[in-house]
Amino acid sequence: MARINLDHIAHSYNPDPKSEADFALREVHQTWEDGSAYALLGPSGCGKTTLLNIISGLMTPSHGQVLFDGRDVTSLATEARNIAQVFQFPVIYDTMTVRENLAFPLRNRRVPEADIKKRVAETLEMLDLTAKADRKARGLTADEKQKISLGRGLVRSDVNAILFDEPLTVIDPHMKWVLRSQLKQLHRRFGFTMVYVTHDQTEALTFADKVVVMYGGEVVQVGTPEELFEKPRHTFVGYFIGSPGMNVLPCALEDGGAVIAGHRLPLEGRYRPLPGKVEAGIRPEFVLLTDDASGLPIQVRSVLDVGRYRVVRGTLGGHDLNAVVPEGMPIPAEPRALFEPGKLNIYHNSHLVEAEG
């Protein structure tokens, strides 16, 4: 296992990039700690697979360096980097048995046969595949095949990191849970450094210690699930994480308060004057619907019952505003919205602005 340093990594498919737009992956400068589980979360085409392939060595970044435990591996080929990767679709060697599949990476590295036997047996045990060890890999179910792909990584004792590229895409929903918790367990027991690419926020939030949110080829926030929920650093993070996402409303700052749709709301802390686009973000979970006259008047468009709670879709001064109403709580006939104090975030040109003092 290793600590992974991404030292000013950027990638462009264009040999002579001129502007930011030429980059598939804009500058990333980060350290990924040994033994942690990271999730790369973002919509399709945001550069997360590019970043993953750069770490695994399937691609060489056009700028910057990749360091494993301080050693520069940027120009090293995949096979020399000692990483394992699990792909979107299970990759297995059809003609081999499960056991032979797991032994394959070791055989290629000329590991002595006795060691291979031992490691394979351990890995089979780890993945609950012992009973199927001598079956042809071809006949197994998708989740078992995916476990074999993972196993070919686990079987190597020298693995620096295990990378997952949307590994649960083809797995049945009920097996997704099982497989994900098995992964989590393996991580706790053996402390592999894991990087997990996904566009599913539930997967990312439940799997990872730290979630790296990417958008348009850029890392917009790295944080624990709580941080992403409470203090999204970018309106995209607020919108992408949470169901429904954060409400983003245009606002103006006026001495110690925010003016939203003509109503003045007090703010905690003071903000410096911000020229340009200013927006306020509030999670639907922190929007309270009352008939109290102090709230902002909203028009309800629809109510979605999601079982444990209801999502009220409405508008405030022509802008969409969603609120989450817990089960059993009535929705007033002429609802007004109150924002939970301290939960309102201010964004300047889509980036979070912290209050001064």
């Binding site: 792909f87 679709f89 990759v91 990476p105």
Partner: protein, 289 residues
């Protein structure tokens, strides 16, 4: 659930039945009919029983032709299958070169058999042919009209030229269907080029290769037009394959009975060989399941 029986449904099958009857069953039965009778013309037939079959199975001429056919098919498969796989592996996977390669590969397949024969017949002639004349000028003794070895080389090269493309195209189709992730995983697993071929590419080409081998075997085993045009079965009888022999017997000598018996035996051999190939190749690698 109770099934509804309606015998009118049989009428639905009638058109197919008629079609198959006229295209296969009746012609085949005619051949069977000829094979057990003898005729001296004027539509007068005498019952001959299994006489023609017995004669055929004791005929050296038949065994010689059969052996020639077997050798020819074996040589053709041994050359075209590895060569086809090799070319398919070397073909580009993306870019402008893909359509160029595919069209170039498909061209020989579009040329009719007898045209291929004529092309090579002229191409190989010592007096005016580009190949024959060049070889002669270089001092190589190449004359497919007199030298059996040269005749065989010509027929084999001609078939390789004509049909390797089929194997290439089938293998290429199998290769491009392999997702990129397989190659990436193989790199991560540290697999050698040979392992990638042996454990990823070959298994994925398994099905198309089965089709390629079957088609090439059947076609080469039934070869007629090209050697007929180029060598006419000669020199001597050295390139007289079963089909050529059959035509000589049926149309040249007008021995309808023996020819019909030979047709049936020929047909059964092709059928048997195809069955063997099919069984062997579909079962390959599955016995341990």
């Amino acid at each position: 659930m109770e099934k509804t029986w309606n015998n009118k449904a049989w009428f639905m099958v009638l058109p197919v039945l008629l079609l198959v009857a006229f295209s296969a069953v009746i012609p085949l039965m005619t051949v069977v009919n000829y094979s057990v009778q003898d005729t001296f013309g004027n539509n007068v037939f005498f019952w001959a029983g299994t006489e023609w079959f017995e004669e055929l199975l004791h005929s050296q001429r038949f065994y010689d032709a059969l052996v020639r056919n077997l050798i020819f098919s074996a040589v053709i498969l041994a050359i075209e299958v590895p060569l086809g796989i090799g070319i398919a592996l070397a073909m580009p996977r993306k870019g402008w070169a893909v359509p160029v390669c595919l069209v170039t590969m498909a061209l020989p397949l579009l040329i009719p058999w007898n045209v291929v024969g004529t092309i090579w017949q002229v191409f190989g002639r010592v007096d005016i042919g580009l190949l024959g004349h060049t070889l002669a000028a270089m001092g190589v003794n190449y004359n497919y009209v007199q030298d059996p070895f040269a005749a065989w080389i010509t027929v084999v090269v001609m078939d390789v030229w004509h049909w390797t493309s089929l194997v290439v195209l089938l293998c290429y189709a199998g290769l491009v269907s392999i997702p990129e992730a397989f190659y990436q995983a193989a790199r991560i697993d540290g697999a050698s080029r040979w392992s990638v071929f042996r454990y990823i590419q070959l298994p994925k080409m398994h099905r198309v290769l089965l089709i390629a081998v079957l088609l090439r075997f059947m076609d080469s085993f039934m070869i007629y037009t090209e050697p007929f045009v180029v060598t006419g079965g000669g020199p001597g009888n050295t390139t007289t394959f079963m089909s050529i022999d059959l035509v000589k017997m049926a149309i040249g000598q007008f021995d309808l009975g023996p020819a019909a018996a030979m047709s049936l035996v020929y047909f059964l051999i092709v059928l048997l060989m195809c069955w063997v190939f099919y069984t062997v190749m579909t079962n390959y690698g599955q016995e341990k399941d």
